[in-house]
Symmetry: C2
Subunit: 247 residues, 2 copies
């Protein structure tokens, strides 16, 4: 499937942002002056967010402006521009009700996100197929994946399944059985971000997922606060990680 | 007390290494071309090691060659060029016996290292006094502290006590009461390195020490393997940490 660009804008700080449609809607960031030789980073968004959530865009623009790399994002099923099915809406309602009632989120979030991941992994693979057909990306450029929470529930089986992705930064997930099984199949260099004081995500889940990765090169990076408070220097650290293993 | 240099050599890769005596023997690394404006890093050595252990020297030389910074080390009491007292020798013998018998090391290591720290903290402070009297160091240059195991048992109370030290990288310690109390008084940016699969150091100790630091800016970095297997990229990460907070 060929990629179809639906918009093309360049920001004042030299980041070219192109949206595309490819079955699913996506966005591609690159230096306005043209991409350098660095990696293409696939950037997942968190649960309830979307491909141009400000936090994701600021990270994508950081990779473009500070390093000359490229970054791409797509909306997960039922997120951003994609309509949410009534089945997915029922999951979300159960999740919200559990949160309001102070009940454990892990069982609902794990099952819902696993279900989204089954659908999202082939979508990411199709997006990567199409992106690699663009002359300024190609198939020899290294590919990384970055994203926490839902983006990790999708990204861990994606990286396990797709040998084109050579490194990944994950974090913020519950240690469900599906996820742990996928993590054991991940062997590329991994950085795992753990939000040390997260009221919704238990540390032990993070420890179990970090333990499960089959990668010889893996690093756990923990910061104070919740997964909504990842310090900017941790983002910069992920940039240094991708530079080291893919640059 | 003025510093007295006992040797002055420059390596092929441009690192000037000067040894000194100041009550305790020490060593100072700086760029042969003269120091840039960056930090002075105080580098502690691990238990049983010394100020010019190869691992410590390679880290010091890395800071000098890659960033133009300065680094200094001194021998801890009973280590390197310093004779070991019979009391300290008895501690070491007990520690070795416990290790051979497969008994818990934490109580002995904690008490012994706490005893060394009480003596070493004023020695480091005197060394910093003298180093800051050197014209090419001075008192306006930022100061950091770096070192794991014994070097952290010494460094944590040192950083808690000495406001001149603006950032520190620690790791590899048992969560003894003295250490936890000192960690609570540390408020400067801290990086804490945790060796995830260490047969001698339990993870929970590391978690407790990381939790105890009073610093708003603190990061835990965990790597596979033991504290004898810290990957080089973790050393580079500490360099980036010091660059961010002191550079």
């Amino acid at each position: 499937m060929n990629i179809h660009f639906t918009s093309d804008e360049t920001s004042a700080d030299g980041v070219r942002q192109r949206t595309f449609l490819l079955g699913v809607p996506g966005v591609l960031w690159s230096p306005a002056a043209g991409p350098a030789d660095g990696p293409l980073l696939l950037m997942g968004h968190g649960g309830g967010l979307h491909k141009t959530h400000p936090g994701l865009v600021s990270r994508a623009e950081y990779y473009v402006t500070s390093r000359g790399w490229m970054a791409a994002a797509i909306d997960a099923p039922g997120h951003g521009e994609r309509p949410r099915s009534s089945a997915d809406q029922a999951w979300v309602a159960r999740m919200m009700a559990a949160r309001d009632a102070g009940e454990p989120l892990a069982p609902i979030v794990t099952a819902f996100n696993d279900s989204l991941a089954v659908r999202a992994v082939p979508e990411w693979q199709a997006a990567l197929d199409a992106l690699q057909q663009l002359p300024d990306i190609g198939t020899s450029r290294p590919v990384g994946y970055s994203g926490m929470t839902l983006a990790s529930t999708i990204g861990i089986p994606l990286v396990a399944a797709d040998a084109r992705i050579g490194a990944a930064a994950f974090g913020g997930v519950f240690a469900g059985e599906e996820l742990l099984a996928a993590a054991r199949s991940v062997t590329v260099p991994v950085e795992f971000i753990l939000s040390w004081d997260d009221p919704e995500l238990d540390r032990e889940s993070g420890f179990a997922v970090f333990d499960a990765f089959g990668s010889a090169d893996k690093t756990l990076v923990a910061h104070p606060g919740s997964h909504r408070e990842v310090p900017w220097h941790v983002v910069e650290g992920s940039g240094q990680f991708f530079e080291r293993v893919l640059g």
